[in-house]
């Protein structure tokens, strides 16, 4: 489905990002796997996944709290001279706190990683896509940005920024045949839920139509759909993957 496509995935170290690397590899894509640090187990994961699927994975290090680091990572991607067919912006951080207890430092840091770094990287990658005359960008937002979730002021506001960015970029880049879409996951079985109290988690799952958590691989499949030609007439969309919530 994605045979010979070259795709950049950020936040590849764990959770949805890591699963996305695995899934896209199984669909035949070559991948730049970006992470804020490269340890030996991640490098081993990259090389094993590449070998298994007979594709290439290039691990890249970039600190998303530093614009300079993101810029230098972008240069590394562009230096390869390979056409970039897709960009998946997964990298993101969260720190739960009620509004009155949220420090300006935390607000700024979450915004820097989730929005600023994401857009700076997107700018760089876009250049290559515009030159090639096609591309697909997938931003990962959250239902928290649409529904609001208590205690997630900085996270939800930053993820809402990505929704606005998605819609505007879709408008600006459409005539270059670059599609930009956004995914809003609900409760997905990743480390991000480890701090959510049991009773709240239970109530959230009970509110879904499917009465269960989503698997990271299910989000990865929606990402693959948006990168593939299956979605060639879709752009500017915000799609919830949440098992159905009222």
């Amino acid at each position: 489905m994605l045979k010979d496509r070259n795709i950049v995935v950020t936040g590849a170290l764990q959770g949805i990002g890591r699963e996305t690397v695995e899934q896209l590899a199984s669909y035949g894509a070559n991948i730049w796997a970006c992470s804020h640090f490269l340890d030996s187990s991640f490098l081993a994961f990259c090389s094993e996944t590449a070998k298994e699927n007979n594709i290439s994975i290039f691990p890249l290090e970039g600190d998303f709290t530093s614009i300079d680091s993101v810029k230098s990572m972008s240069r590394d991607i562009l230096k390869s001279k390979l056409p970039i067919d897709g960009l998946v912006n997964v990298a993101g951080i969260t720190k739960d706190a009620i509004f009155q207890m949220t420090s300006s430092a935390d607000l700024a840091k979450i915004y820097e990683v989730n929005v600023m770094a994401t857009l700076i990287l997107t700018q760089a990658v876009c250049k290559s896509m515009i030159r090639a005359g096609s591309g697909s960008i997938v931003n990962i937002s959250s239902i928290s940005a649409i529904d609001g979730v208590e205690g997630q002021i900085s996270y939800s506001a930053s993820k809402a920024a990505l929704i606005g960015a998605t819609k505007t970029l879709a408008r600006e880049l459409g005539s270059n045949n670059i599609r930009v879409n956004c995914i809003a996951p609900g409760v997905i079985d990743t480390d991000m839920n480890t701090n959510v109290p049991e009773d709240i988690l239970h109530a959230r799952l009970n509110n879904t139509s499917l009465k269960r958590m989503g698997a990271p691989s299910e989000v990865a499949d929606l990402i693959a759909f948006f990168l593939s030609d299956l979605s060639s007439y879709m752009t500017g969309q915000i799609i919830r993957i949440d098992g159905g919530m009222a």
Partner: protein, 247 residues
């Protein structure tokens, strides 16, 4: 790409346009298909068998008018009697209609509601029953961007599609725990015979308002429907996918 391998699905309105394209694409992805058309015709029988042979899948034509509940029930019985469990329904068949609000007769309104809403609603009721017995399935309702946006002359058509869209969302809440998912698709301006009911100016204006600056192809609607039927979308339910080039 065999994302619909071993799936048995019913697609309504396969005679032309989006339905025909969806039948072809789903067959190419490995699905066996009950292909619905309103009335028997030899060309349709022929194209069903050609597509079936090309992709090594079974395509069985079924015929009924969406306004004729008795005929619909006969077709459902045929589906129930076959050994293959039904995994998917793509409710595509519909009519289009353009008239100003003040010029829309009760008969126009009734026809839009009958074919675009009540027919698919009742058909889905029958099919859901079979799916729940089989332990799951996926419903895809083809609505329209006219169900969401305000378009002149589309009050009757848009309202009938909005009804379908809302019913699908509500349904998704009811059947989720039985493993049945229900989503809608809202195509924008698509290269089909339906375009013939629009003036050239309106078409140009609409195309210009899209981000991709072009009409959609029926196959581009079909591919999203196929995704929603497939297990690739296993955690997606109650959603409306706009396939409109960005409006």
């Amino acid at each position: 790409m065999n994302i619909l391998d071993k799936k048995n699905i019913l697609i309504t309105g396969c005679n032309r346009g989006i339905g025909l394209s969806t039948m072809r694409l789903c067959a190419s992805f490995g699905a066996n298909i009950w292909a619905h058309a309103r009335t028997y015709n030899e060309d349709f029988e022929h194209s069903c068998s050609l597509i079936g042979k090309e992709f090594h899948v079974d395509i069985v034509p079924v015929y009924f008018d969406l306004a004729d509940k008795e005929k619909m029930l006969e077709a459902v019985k045929l589906i129930r009697a076959s050994k293959a469990p039904i995994n998917g329904l793509i409710s595509n068949a519909g009519i289009t209609h353009n008239s100003f609000f003040q010029m829309t007769s009760k008969a126009n309104l009734q026809e839009n509601l009958d074919i675009n809403f009540i027919g698919p609603y009742i058909l889905t009721q029958y099919i859901i029953k079979l799916m729940m017995r089989n332990g799951g399935g996926s419903i895809v309702s083809i609505a329209s961007s006219a169900a969401i946006d305000a378009n002149m002359g589309r009050s009757a058509y848009g309202a009938s599609k909005a009804a379908l869209l809302t019913a699908t969302k509500s349904l998704s809440r009811e059947v989720g725990e039985y493993g049945v998912r229900a989503n809608s698709l809202a195509p924008g301006i698509t290269q089909t015979e339906m375009l013939e009911s629009m003036s050239e100016d309106t078409i140009e204006e609409t195309v210009n308002s899209t981000s991709l600056k072009r009409c959609g192809k029926p196959s581009e609607i079909a591919s999203v429907a196929a995704f929603l039927i497939s297990d690739m979308s296993s955690y997606i339910t109650g959603q409306t996918f706009r396939v409109d080039g960005g409006m």
